[in-house]
């Protein structure tokens, strides 16, 4: 009994270790918030275990993971955010192990550039937050996770055509909101 528990746990833990970076990046860029991030990430992995019977062996595992993430974040996002997230057994993450921000080391840039970079990051964050959630998720998957239109369509349970139009709208919105700040940087 002990041995089987150790066995299935280490198999599962291996999957978590392989994909935790992907999941945290996805969630943080989607939500823009560190609060509740670990609970959300944990819920995604627990669902992967529970939903594994619906996983198609022919599909990429990562696509399956993205689909679980999308369902949790967007399809159920609104109602779930009101509930306490479902870590019934696990203690709430305490402050000292909250996710580390993957911010660039400010010392790596000249001071004025570092300040500009941070301002740009803040500005982009607030622009991303104005996008409808499905657009935002599609954009994050496309920009930061290099997912193809087809893979995004699978994750969103949608079509490639719909994903293209979603991304086109998202990118137009971001571009038009960012335009006032990018004027000087565009080569003619």
């Amino acid at each position: 009994m002990v041995r089987y528990q150790r066995g299935d746990e280490s198999a599962f833990r291996r999957i978590v270790e392989l994909y935790e970076g992907t999941v945290f990046n996805l969630l943080f860029r989607f939500t823009g918030s560190r609060e509740g991030l670990e609970d959300l990430a944990q819920e995604i992995f627990l669902r992967v275990v529970r939903a594994r019977g619906r996983y198609r062996p022919k599909a990429k595992f990562s696509t399956f993971l993205y689909r679980v993430a999308f369902n949790l974040c967007v399809n159920e996002g609104r109602s779930r955010r009101k509930l306490r997230l479902a870590s019934l057994d696990a203690p709430s993450p305490s402050g000292d192990r909250s996710p580390r921000a993957d911010l660039p080391d400010p010392r790596a840039r000249p001071p004025h550039e570092a300040v500009e970079h941070e301002e740009m990051a803040r500005r982009l964050r607030s622009i991303l937050d104005t996008l409808p959630e499905t657009q935002r998720m599609a954009l994050v998957m496309n920009k930061y996770h290099d997912l193809s239109y087809r893979e995004i369509a699978e994750a969103l349970g949608s079509t490639e055509k719909a994903v293209k139009s979603l991304l086109a709208r998202a990118r137009r919105s971001v571009r038009e909101r960012l335009a006032p700040y990018l004027g000087g940087e565009i080569p003619a």
Partner: protein, 149 residues
Amino acid sequence: MNLSCDGVRDLLALHVEGALDPAEAESVARHLGSCAACRAEERLERATWRALDAVPGAAPPSAFAERVAEAARRSSRWRRILPLAAAASIALLAGALALRGTRAVLSDEEVIAHLDLLENWDLVSDPELAVALDAPEEDLLPLGGGSGR
């Protein structure tokens, strides 16, 4: 197809990605050839895409995987559904994985084989069924609170 400036701007992101169908691509190219304002917008689109690099990601906290595995173990559902018959093979697999250590990242195929093994008591092989992840809520919520201890 004659596109307005507004129509072109809807298509610019896909245009710079080369994702338009040939007819649309040609219409956009023709418009850009004669519209300086939309050409500026095209440059802005490329600059925006680069600017998005500034949005930071987040790294998992240390020992995250251990805590998730612990939460999975504690879930009563997890304990209830895992048949003892699968236990030995899972332990073997875990051992095989441990031998590989951390030097190679597992391929998707290996992870898949891995999940299949975990799943060999109720694998859904019908692709139609398999597509749906929208199982009943009670099936997806952790049951740790409900049944026993």
